[in-house]
């Protein structure tokens, strides 16, 4: 019998996975993988936080635990604590029961559920996303039934924020349009608005009735402080308006593969939040019925135990500090070498990724001559260590001076 799928062609390789695949093939002892989107230690190893291991042990040793289905919206306590984490313990929105929260599959799952909800219930079907943004954003929103437009964000000439362009584009958006905002540590550029710029963005958006949809994948991971990294979200919520928030615990708790996240919808009134919650269930049920229990149980254990919570904050800060230190070391190395160009963006940008400003020929050169593996856009600072920074600095210097 012929297959009904006989005409299917192979999908293109994921560009990021392609980097790791090429890296794995390379026999050079000096090779460096800067495409990895996961944190690495100084030794280049993945890291499971001590507090996560502790939480795991508690769960394993608890004989009374079963693996029954979670409710469609997930673990209730996890949801409450996640909302508190991003909105603040004393958030009026929480106190007034105006927040509908669903445990979802990490950031991706939270974005998809939120987007499908919007496609079903919201009058505006267009979402504006920054140029550039995480590669998967377009696919998530399109699959959910929204159409995607861009707003200017990254300025290649300054390697910083194109603030004028951003304000113009959001100003020109139709009233009520959805706007995706990276809460902190913009992926892939590392360029974040300043506090003052965030305030202007907020005012402009609220005046046009634009609906904010925050993607918060790096809370605590960017600056090292959970509260500082949550500030943009909190100022929006503090003005009493509504917003969507997708949270991920992949990086800040190192729970990557456990797929732990939450979607929160901040509403005007408690009865609205309650109805919104009921409709969220109808989006989730035909997708996967209910979310996975293990990772969220770990996160909940940590969030609700104040000693473990404090331990977590310390380990989180250590990860953020290591990344900030790598930025400084790379910047210092390039300065010491006198590498032509302005490299201050390396320390101005924040979070896991750096948009280097190198062109694709330079990147190809670095791969060929120095066995540096990175996407054409930028590098993951998490893949660097004090030992390998000099090698990368050499490669960048060579690419800028000898190549293209």
């Amino acid at each position: 019998m012929d297959s009904v799928f006989a005409s299917i062609v192979q999908a293109p390789e994921d560009p990021i996975l392609g980097v790791t695949a090429a890296y794995n093939k390379d026999p050079s002892p000096n090779k460096l993988n800067l495409g990895v989107g996961a944190y690495r230690t100084e030794e280049g190893k993945p890291l499971v936080l001590n507090v996560v291991r502790k939480a795991e042990q508690l769960l394993v040793n608890d004989q009374s635990r079963v693996k029954e289905y979670l409710p469609i919206l997930g673990l209730a306590e996890f949801n409450k604590l996640s909302a508190k984490l991003i909105l603040g313990d004393d958030s009026p929105a929480i106190q007034e029961n105006r927040v509908a929260t669903a445990q979802c599959l990490s950031g991706t799952g939270s974005l998809r559920v939120g987007a499908e909800f919007l496609a079903k219930h919201y009058h505006q079907r267009t979402i504006y996303i920054p140029q550039p943004s995480w590669g998967n954003h377009v696919k998530v929103f399109t699959m959910a039934g929204l159409s995607v437009k861009n707003y200017r964000y990254y300025d290649p000439t300054t390697r910083g924020l194109n603030f004028q362009g951003l304000l113009e584009d959001l100003g020109a958006a139709p009233a009520g349009a959805i706007v995706l905002l990276h809460a902190c540590a913009h992926n892939p550029t590392g360029v974040d608005p300043t506090v003052e710029q965030w305030e202007q963005i907020r005012q402009s958006m609220r005046s046009k009735g634009l609906l904010p949809f925050f993607d918060s994948a790096y809370q605590g991971f960017a600056s090292g402080s959970l509260d500082v990294d949550a500030q943009p979200v909190r100022t929006f919520v503090a003005d009493g308006g509504e917003c969507f928030i997708a949270q991920s615990y992949a990086k800040n708790m190192g729970l990557y593969g456990e797929r732990v996240g939450a979607l929160s919808i901040v509403c005007k009134a408690a009865d609205v939040a309650s109805r919104v919650e009921s409709q969220l269930k109808l989006v989730i049920r035909p997708m996967y019925s209910n979310p996975p229990i293990h990772g969220a149980s770990i996160a909940m254990t940590i969030l609700k135990n104040s000693d473990m919570y404090n331990e977590w904050k310390i380990e989180l800060k250590a990860m953020a500090d290591r990344i900030i230190s790598m930025r400084k070391q790379l910047f210092d190395a390039l300065s010491a070498k006198g590498t032509p160009g302005n490299w201050s963006h390396i320390i101005k940008q924040i979070g896991m990724f750096t948009f280097t400003g190198l062109n694709s020929d330079q990147v190809a050169f670095m791969t060929k001559e120095y066995h540096i593996y990175m996407t054409s856009d930028g590098i993951s600072m998490a893949g660097l260590s004090s030992k390998t920074v000099p090698h990368l600095a050499d490669a960048i210097h060579a690419a800028v001076t000898r190549c293209c």
Binding site: V48, L105, H121, Q203, K268, S274, V276, S289, G295
Partner: protein, 419 residues
């Protein structure tokens, strides 16, 4: 100024914001959703502390949820030993390999020839949804034929995937068995190349399965029409106690040369409910096609959840790749299935002993977690209100919730409302 006020948690002075468009909620018009007919029952069940509830997932003879010993052992082995890095988009390769063996056969040539495109999925629901999305994308003009009745969420899944649905006859209320002739008619009358959703074993919610001979005929007619057979197998091992036996329908179709799709779930047969572990597989003409199909399935998973959860998959692969643990699992599955079969016998026996005028043969003819009792919604409501017995209003009893401790009570109650 405004930021410091915001940081203190107080609501900002409204005059600081130009325009009042945000004043009213966007969601005023959002209606409360109807309660999920199945999970809605669970919520009521959880709220009611009565000991005589019969509902939901598997329970042992003490009415307690069960974590299999092989699962506990697997968890002990994996805790603290591994990192939590992202799985590939297609999930755990090891878990998928072992899972395909269960469905297609330990020594399946199809596996050896690498003709099966397979990805880890979020239990049975996730596998069905991925397939529905895949069907929509690559056979956009197709429709899915769904049995009447079926698990309610099947309709939601294909609807949200925007695949038009039709139904085919399945349950025969008069005999409380299979409406075989009408089912075959529907297969014959469907346009060539239609997609058919089949329950591989332990049909949910009726417990009514075709016999082996009937499966052969179903296979024959589906093949004659060039239809696509998609199997939802949520109960392998849980139905008869023997996973090989429960896969019989699938094996018949494979022998007949169909290129099938299968949604597999470990929710019930490994008791991994909340871990959301399953697998979607699509049998292709050759390895090249399987590689292409798998890549496209991954493209559908990526914008839904990027990559599937690692923990449950680790449990499954730990158990199935260790011969001793696998043996233990097979034993424990048989215990669960045997207990349910025993409860069916006991319930029927009790009803007959009470002198019920009705026939209760269907209780032991049907198989798996659920029994379509034939009770009317009114009778079900009486069971709930007068006897604290909970079941969905279509009369579906979860046999897993029946125990030696409550089977007499249940039989009495059913007798009371049906005599």
């Amino acid at each position: 100024m405004a930021i410091r006020r915001a940081m203190s948690g107080r609501i900002m002075d409204r005059t600081a914001v130009v325009g009042a468009r945000y004043m009213s909620s966007w969601w005023r018009s959002v209606q409360p959703a109807p309660k999920d007919p199945i999970l809605g029952v669970t919520e009521a069940f959880l709220a009611d502390q009565s000991a005589d509830k019969v509902n939901g997932a598997y329970r042992d003879d003490n009415g307690k949820p069960v974590v299999l010993e092989c699962v506990r052992e697997a968890e002990r082995r994996i805790a603290g030993n591994l990192n939590m890095e992202y799985l590939p988009m297609g999930g755990s390769v090891k878990m998928v390999e072992e899972t395909l063996k269960l469905a297609y056969g330990e020594n399946s040539e199809l596996i050896k020839e690498k003709r099966i495109a397979a990805v880890q999925a979020l239990s049975g629901t996730g596998a069905c949804r991925l397939f529905a999305d895949f069907q929509k994308r690559f056979c956009p003009d197709s429709q899915i034929y769904i049995p009447v009745p079926t698990w309610a969420n099947h309709h939601n899944i294909w609807r949200d995937a925007q695949v038009p649905q039709k139904t085919y006859h399945y349950y025969h209320p008069e005999s409380k068995g299979l409406d075989f002739a009408a089912m075959i008619d529907d297969i014959k009358n469907a346009p060539n190349g239609s997609f058919f959703l089949l329950h591989a074993c332990a049909h949910n919610p009726t417990g009514v399965d075709p016999s082996e001979e009937q499966w052969r005929e179903i296979s024959h007619h589906i093949k004659a029409k060039g239809h696509f057979a998609f199997f939802d197998m949520a109960y392998q091992g849980f139905a008869s106690g023997d996973p090989e036996k429960d896969a019989k329908a699938i094996r018949i179709f494979l022998e007949d040369g169909h290129h099938i799709g299968i949604a597999q779930s470990y929710a019930k047969n490994m008791g991994l409910y909340g871990q959301r572990v399953g697998c979607l597989s699509v049998l292709c003409e050759d390895e090249k096609q399987a590689v292409a199909v798998k890549s496209q399935l991954q493209q559908l998973a990526r914008p839904m959840y990027s990559n599937p959860p690692v923990h449950g998959a680790l449990i499954v692969s730990t158990i199935l790749s260790d011969p001793d643990l696998k043996k233990q699992w097979l034993k424990e599955v048989k215990v669960m299935a045997d207990r349910i079969i025993g409860m069916r016998t006991a319930l029927r026996g009790n009803l007959e002993k009470l002198g019920s005028p009705l026939s209760w043969q269907h209780i032991t003819n049907q198989i798996g977690m659920f029994c379509y009792s034939g009770l009317t919604p009114e009778q079900v409501d009486r069971l709930t209100n007068e006897f604290h017995i909970y079941m969905t209003r279509n009369g579906r009893i979860s046999m897993a919730g029946v125990t030696t401790g409550n089977v007499e009570y249940l039989a009495n109650a059913i007798h009371e409302v049906t005599k």
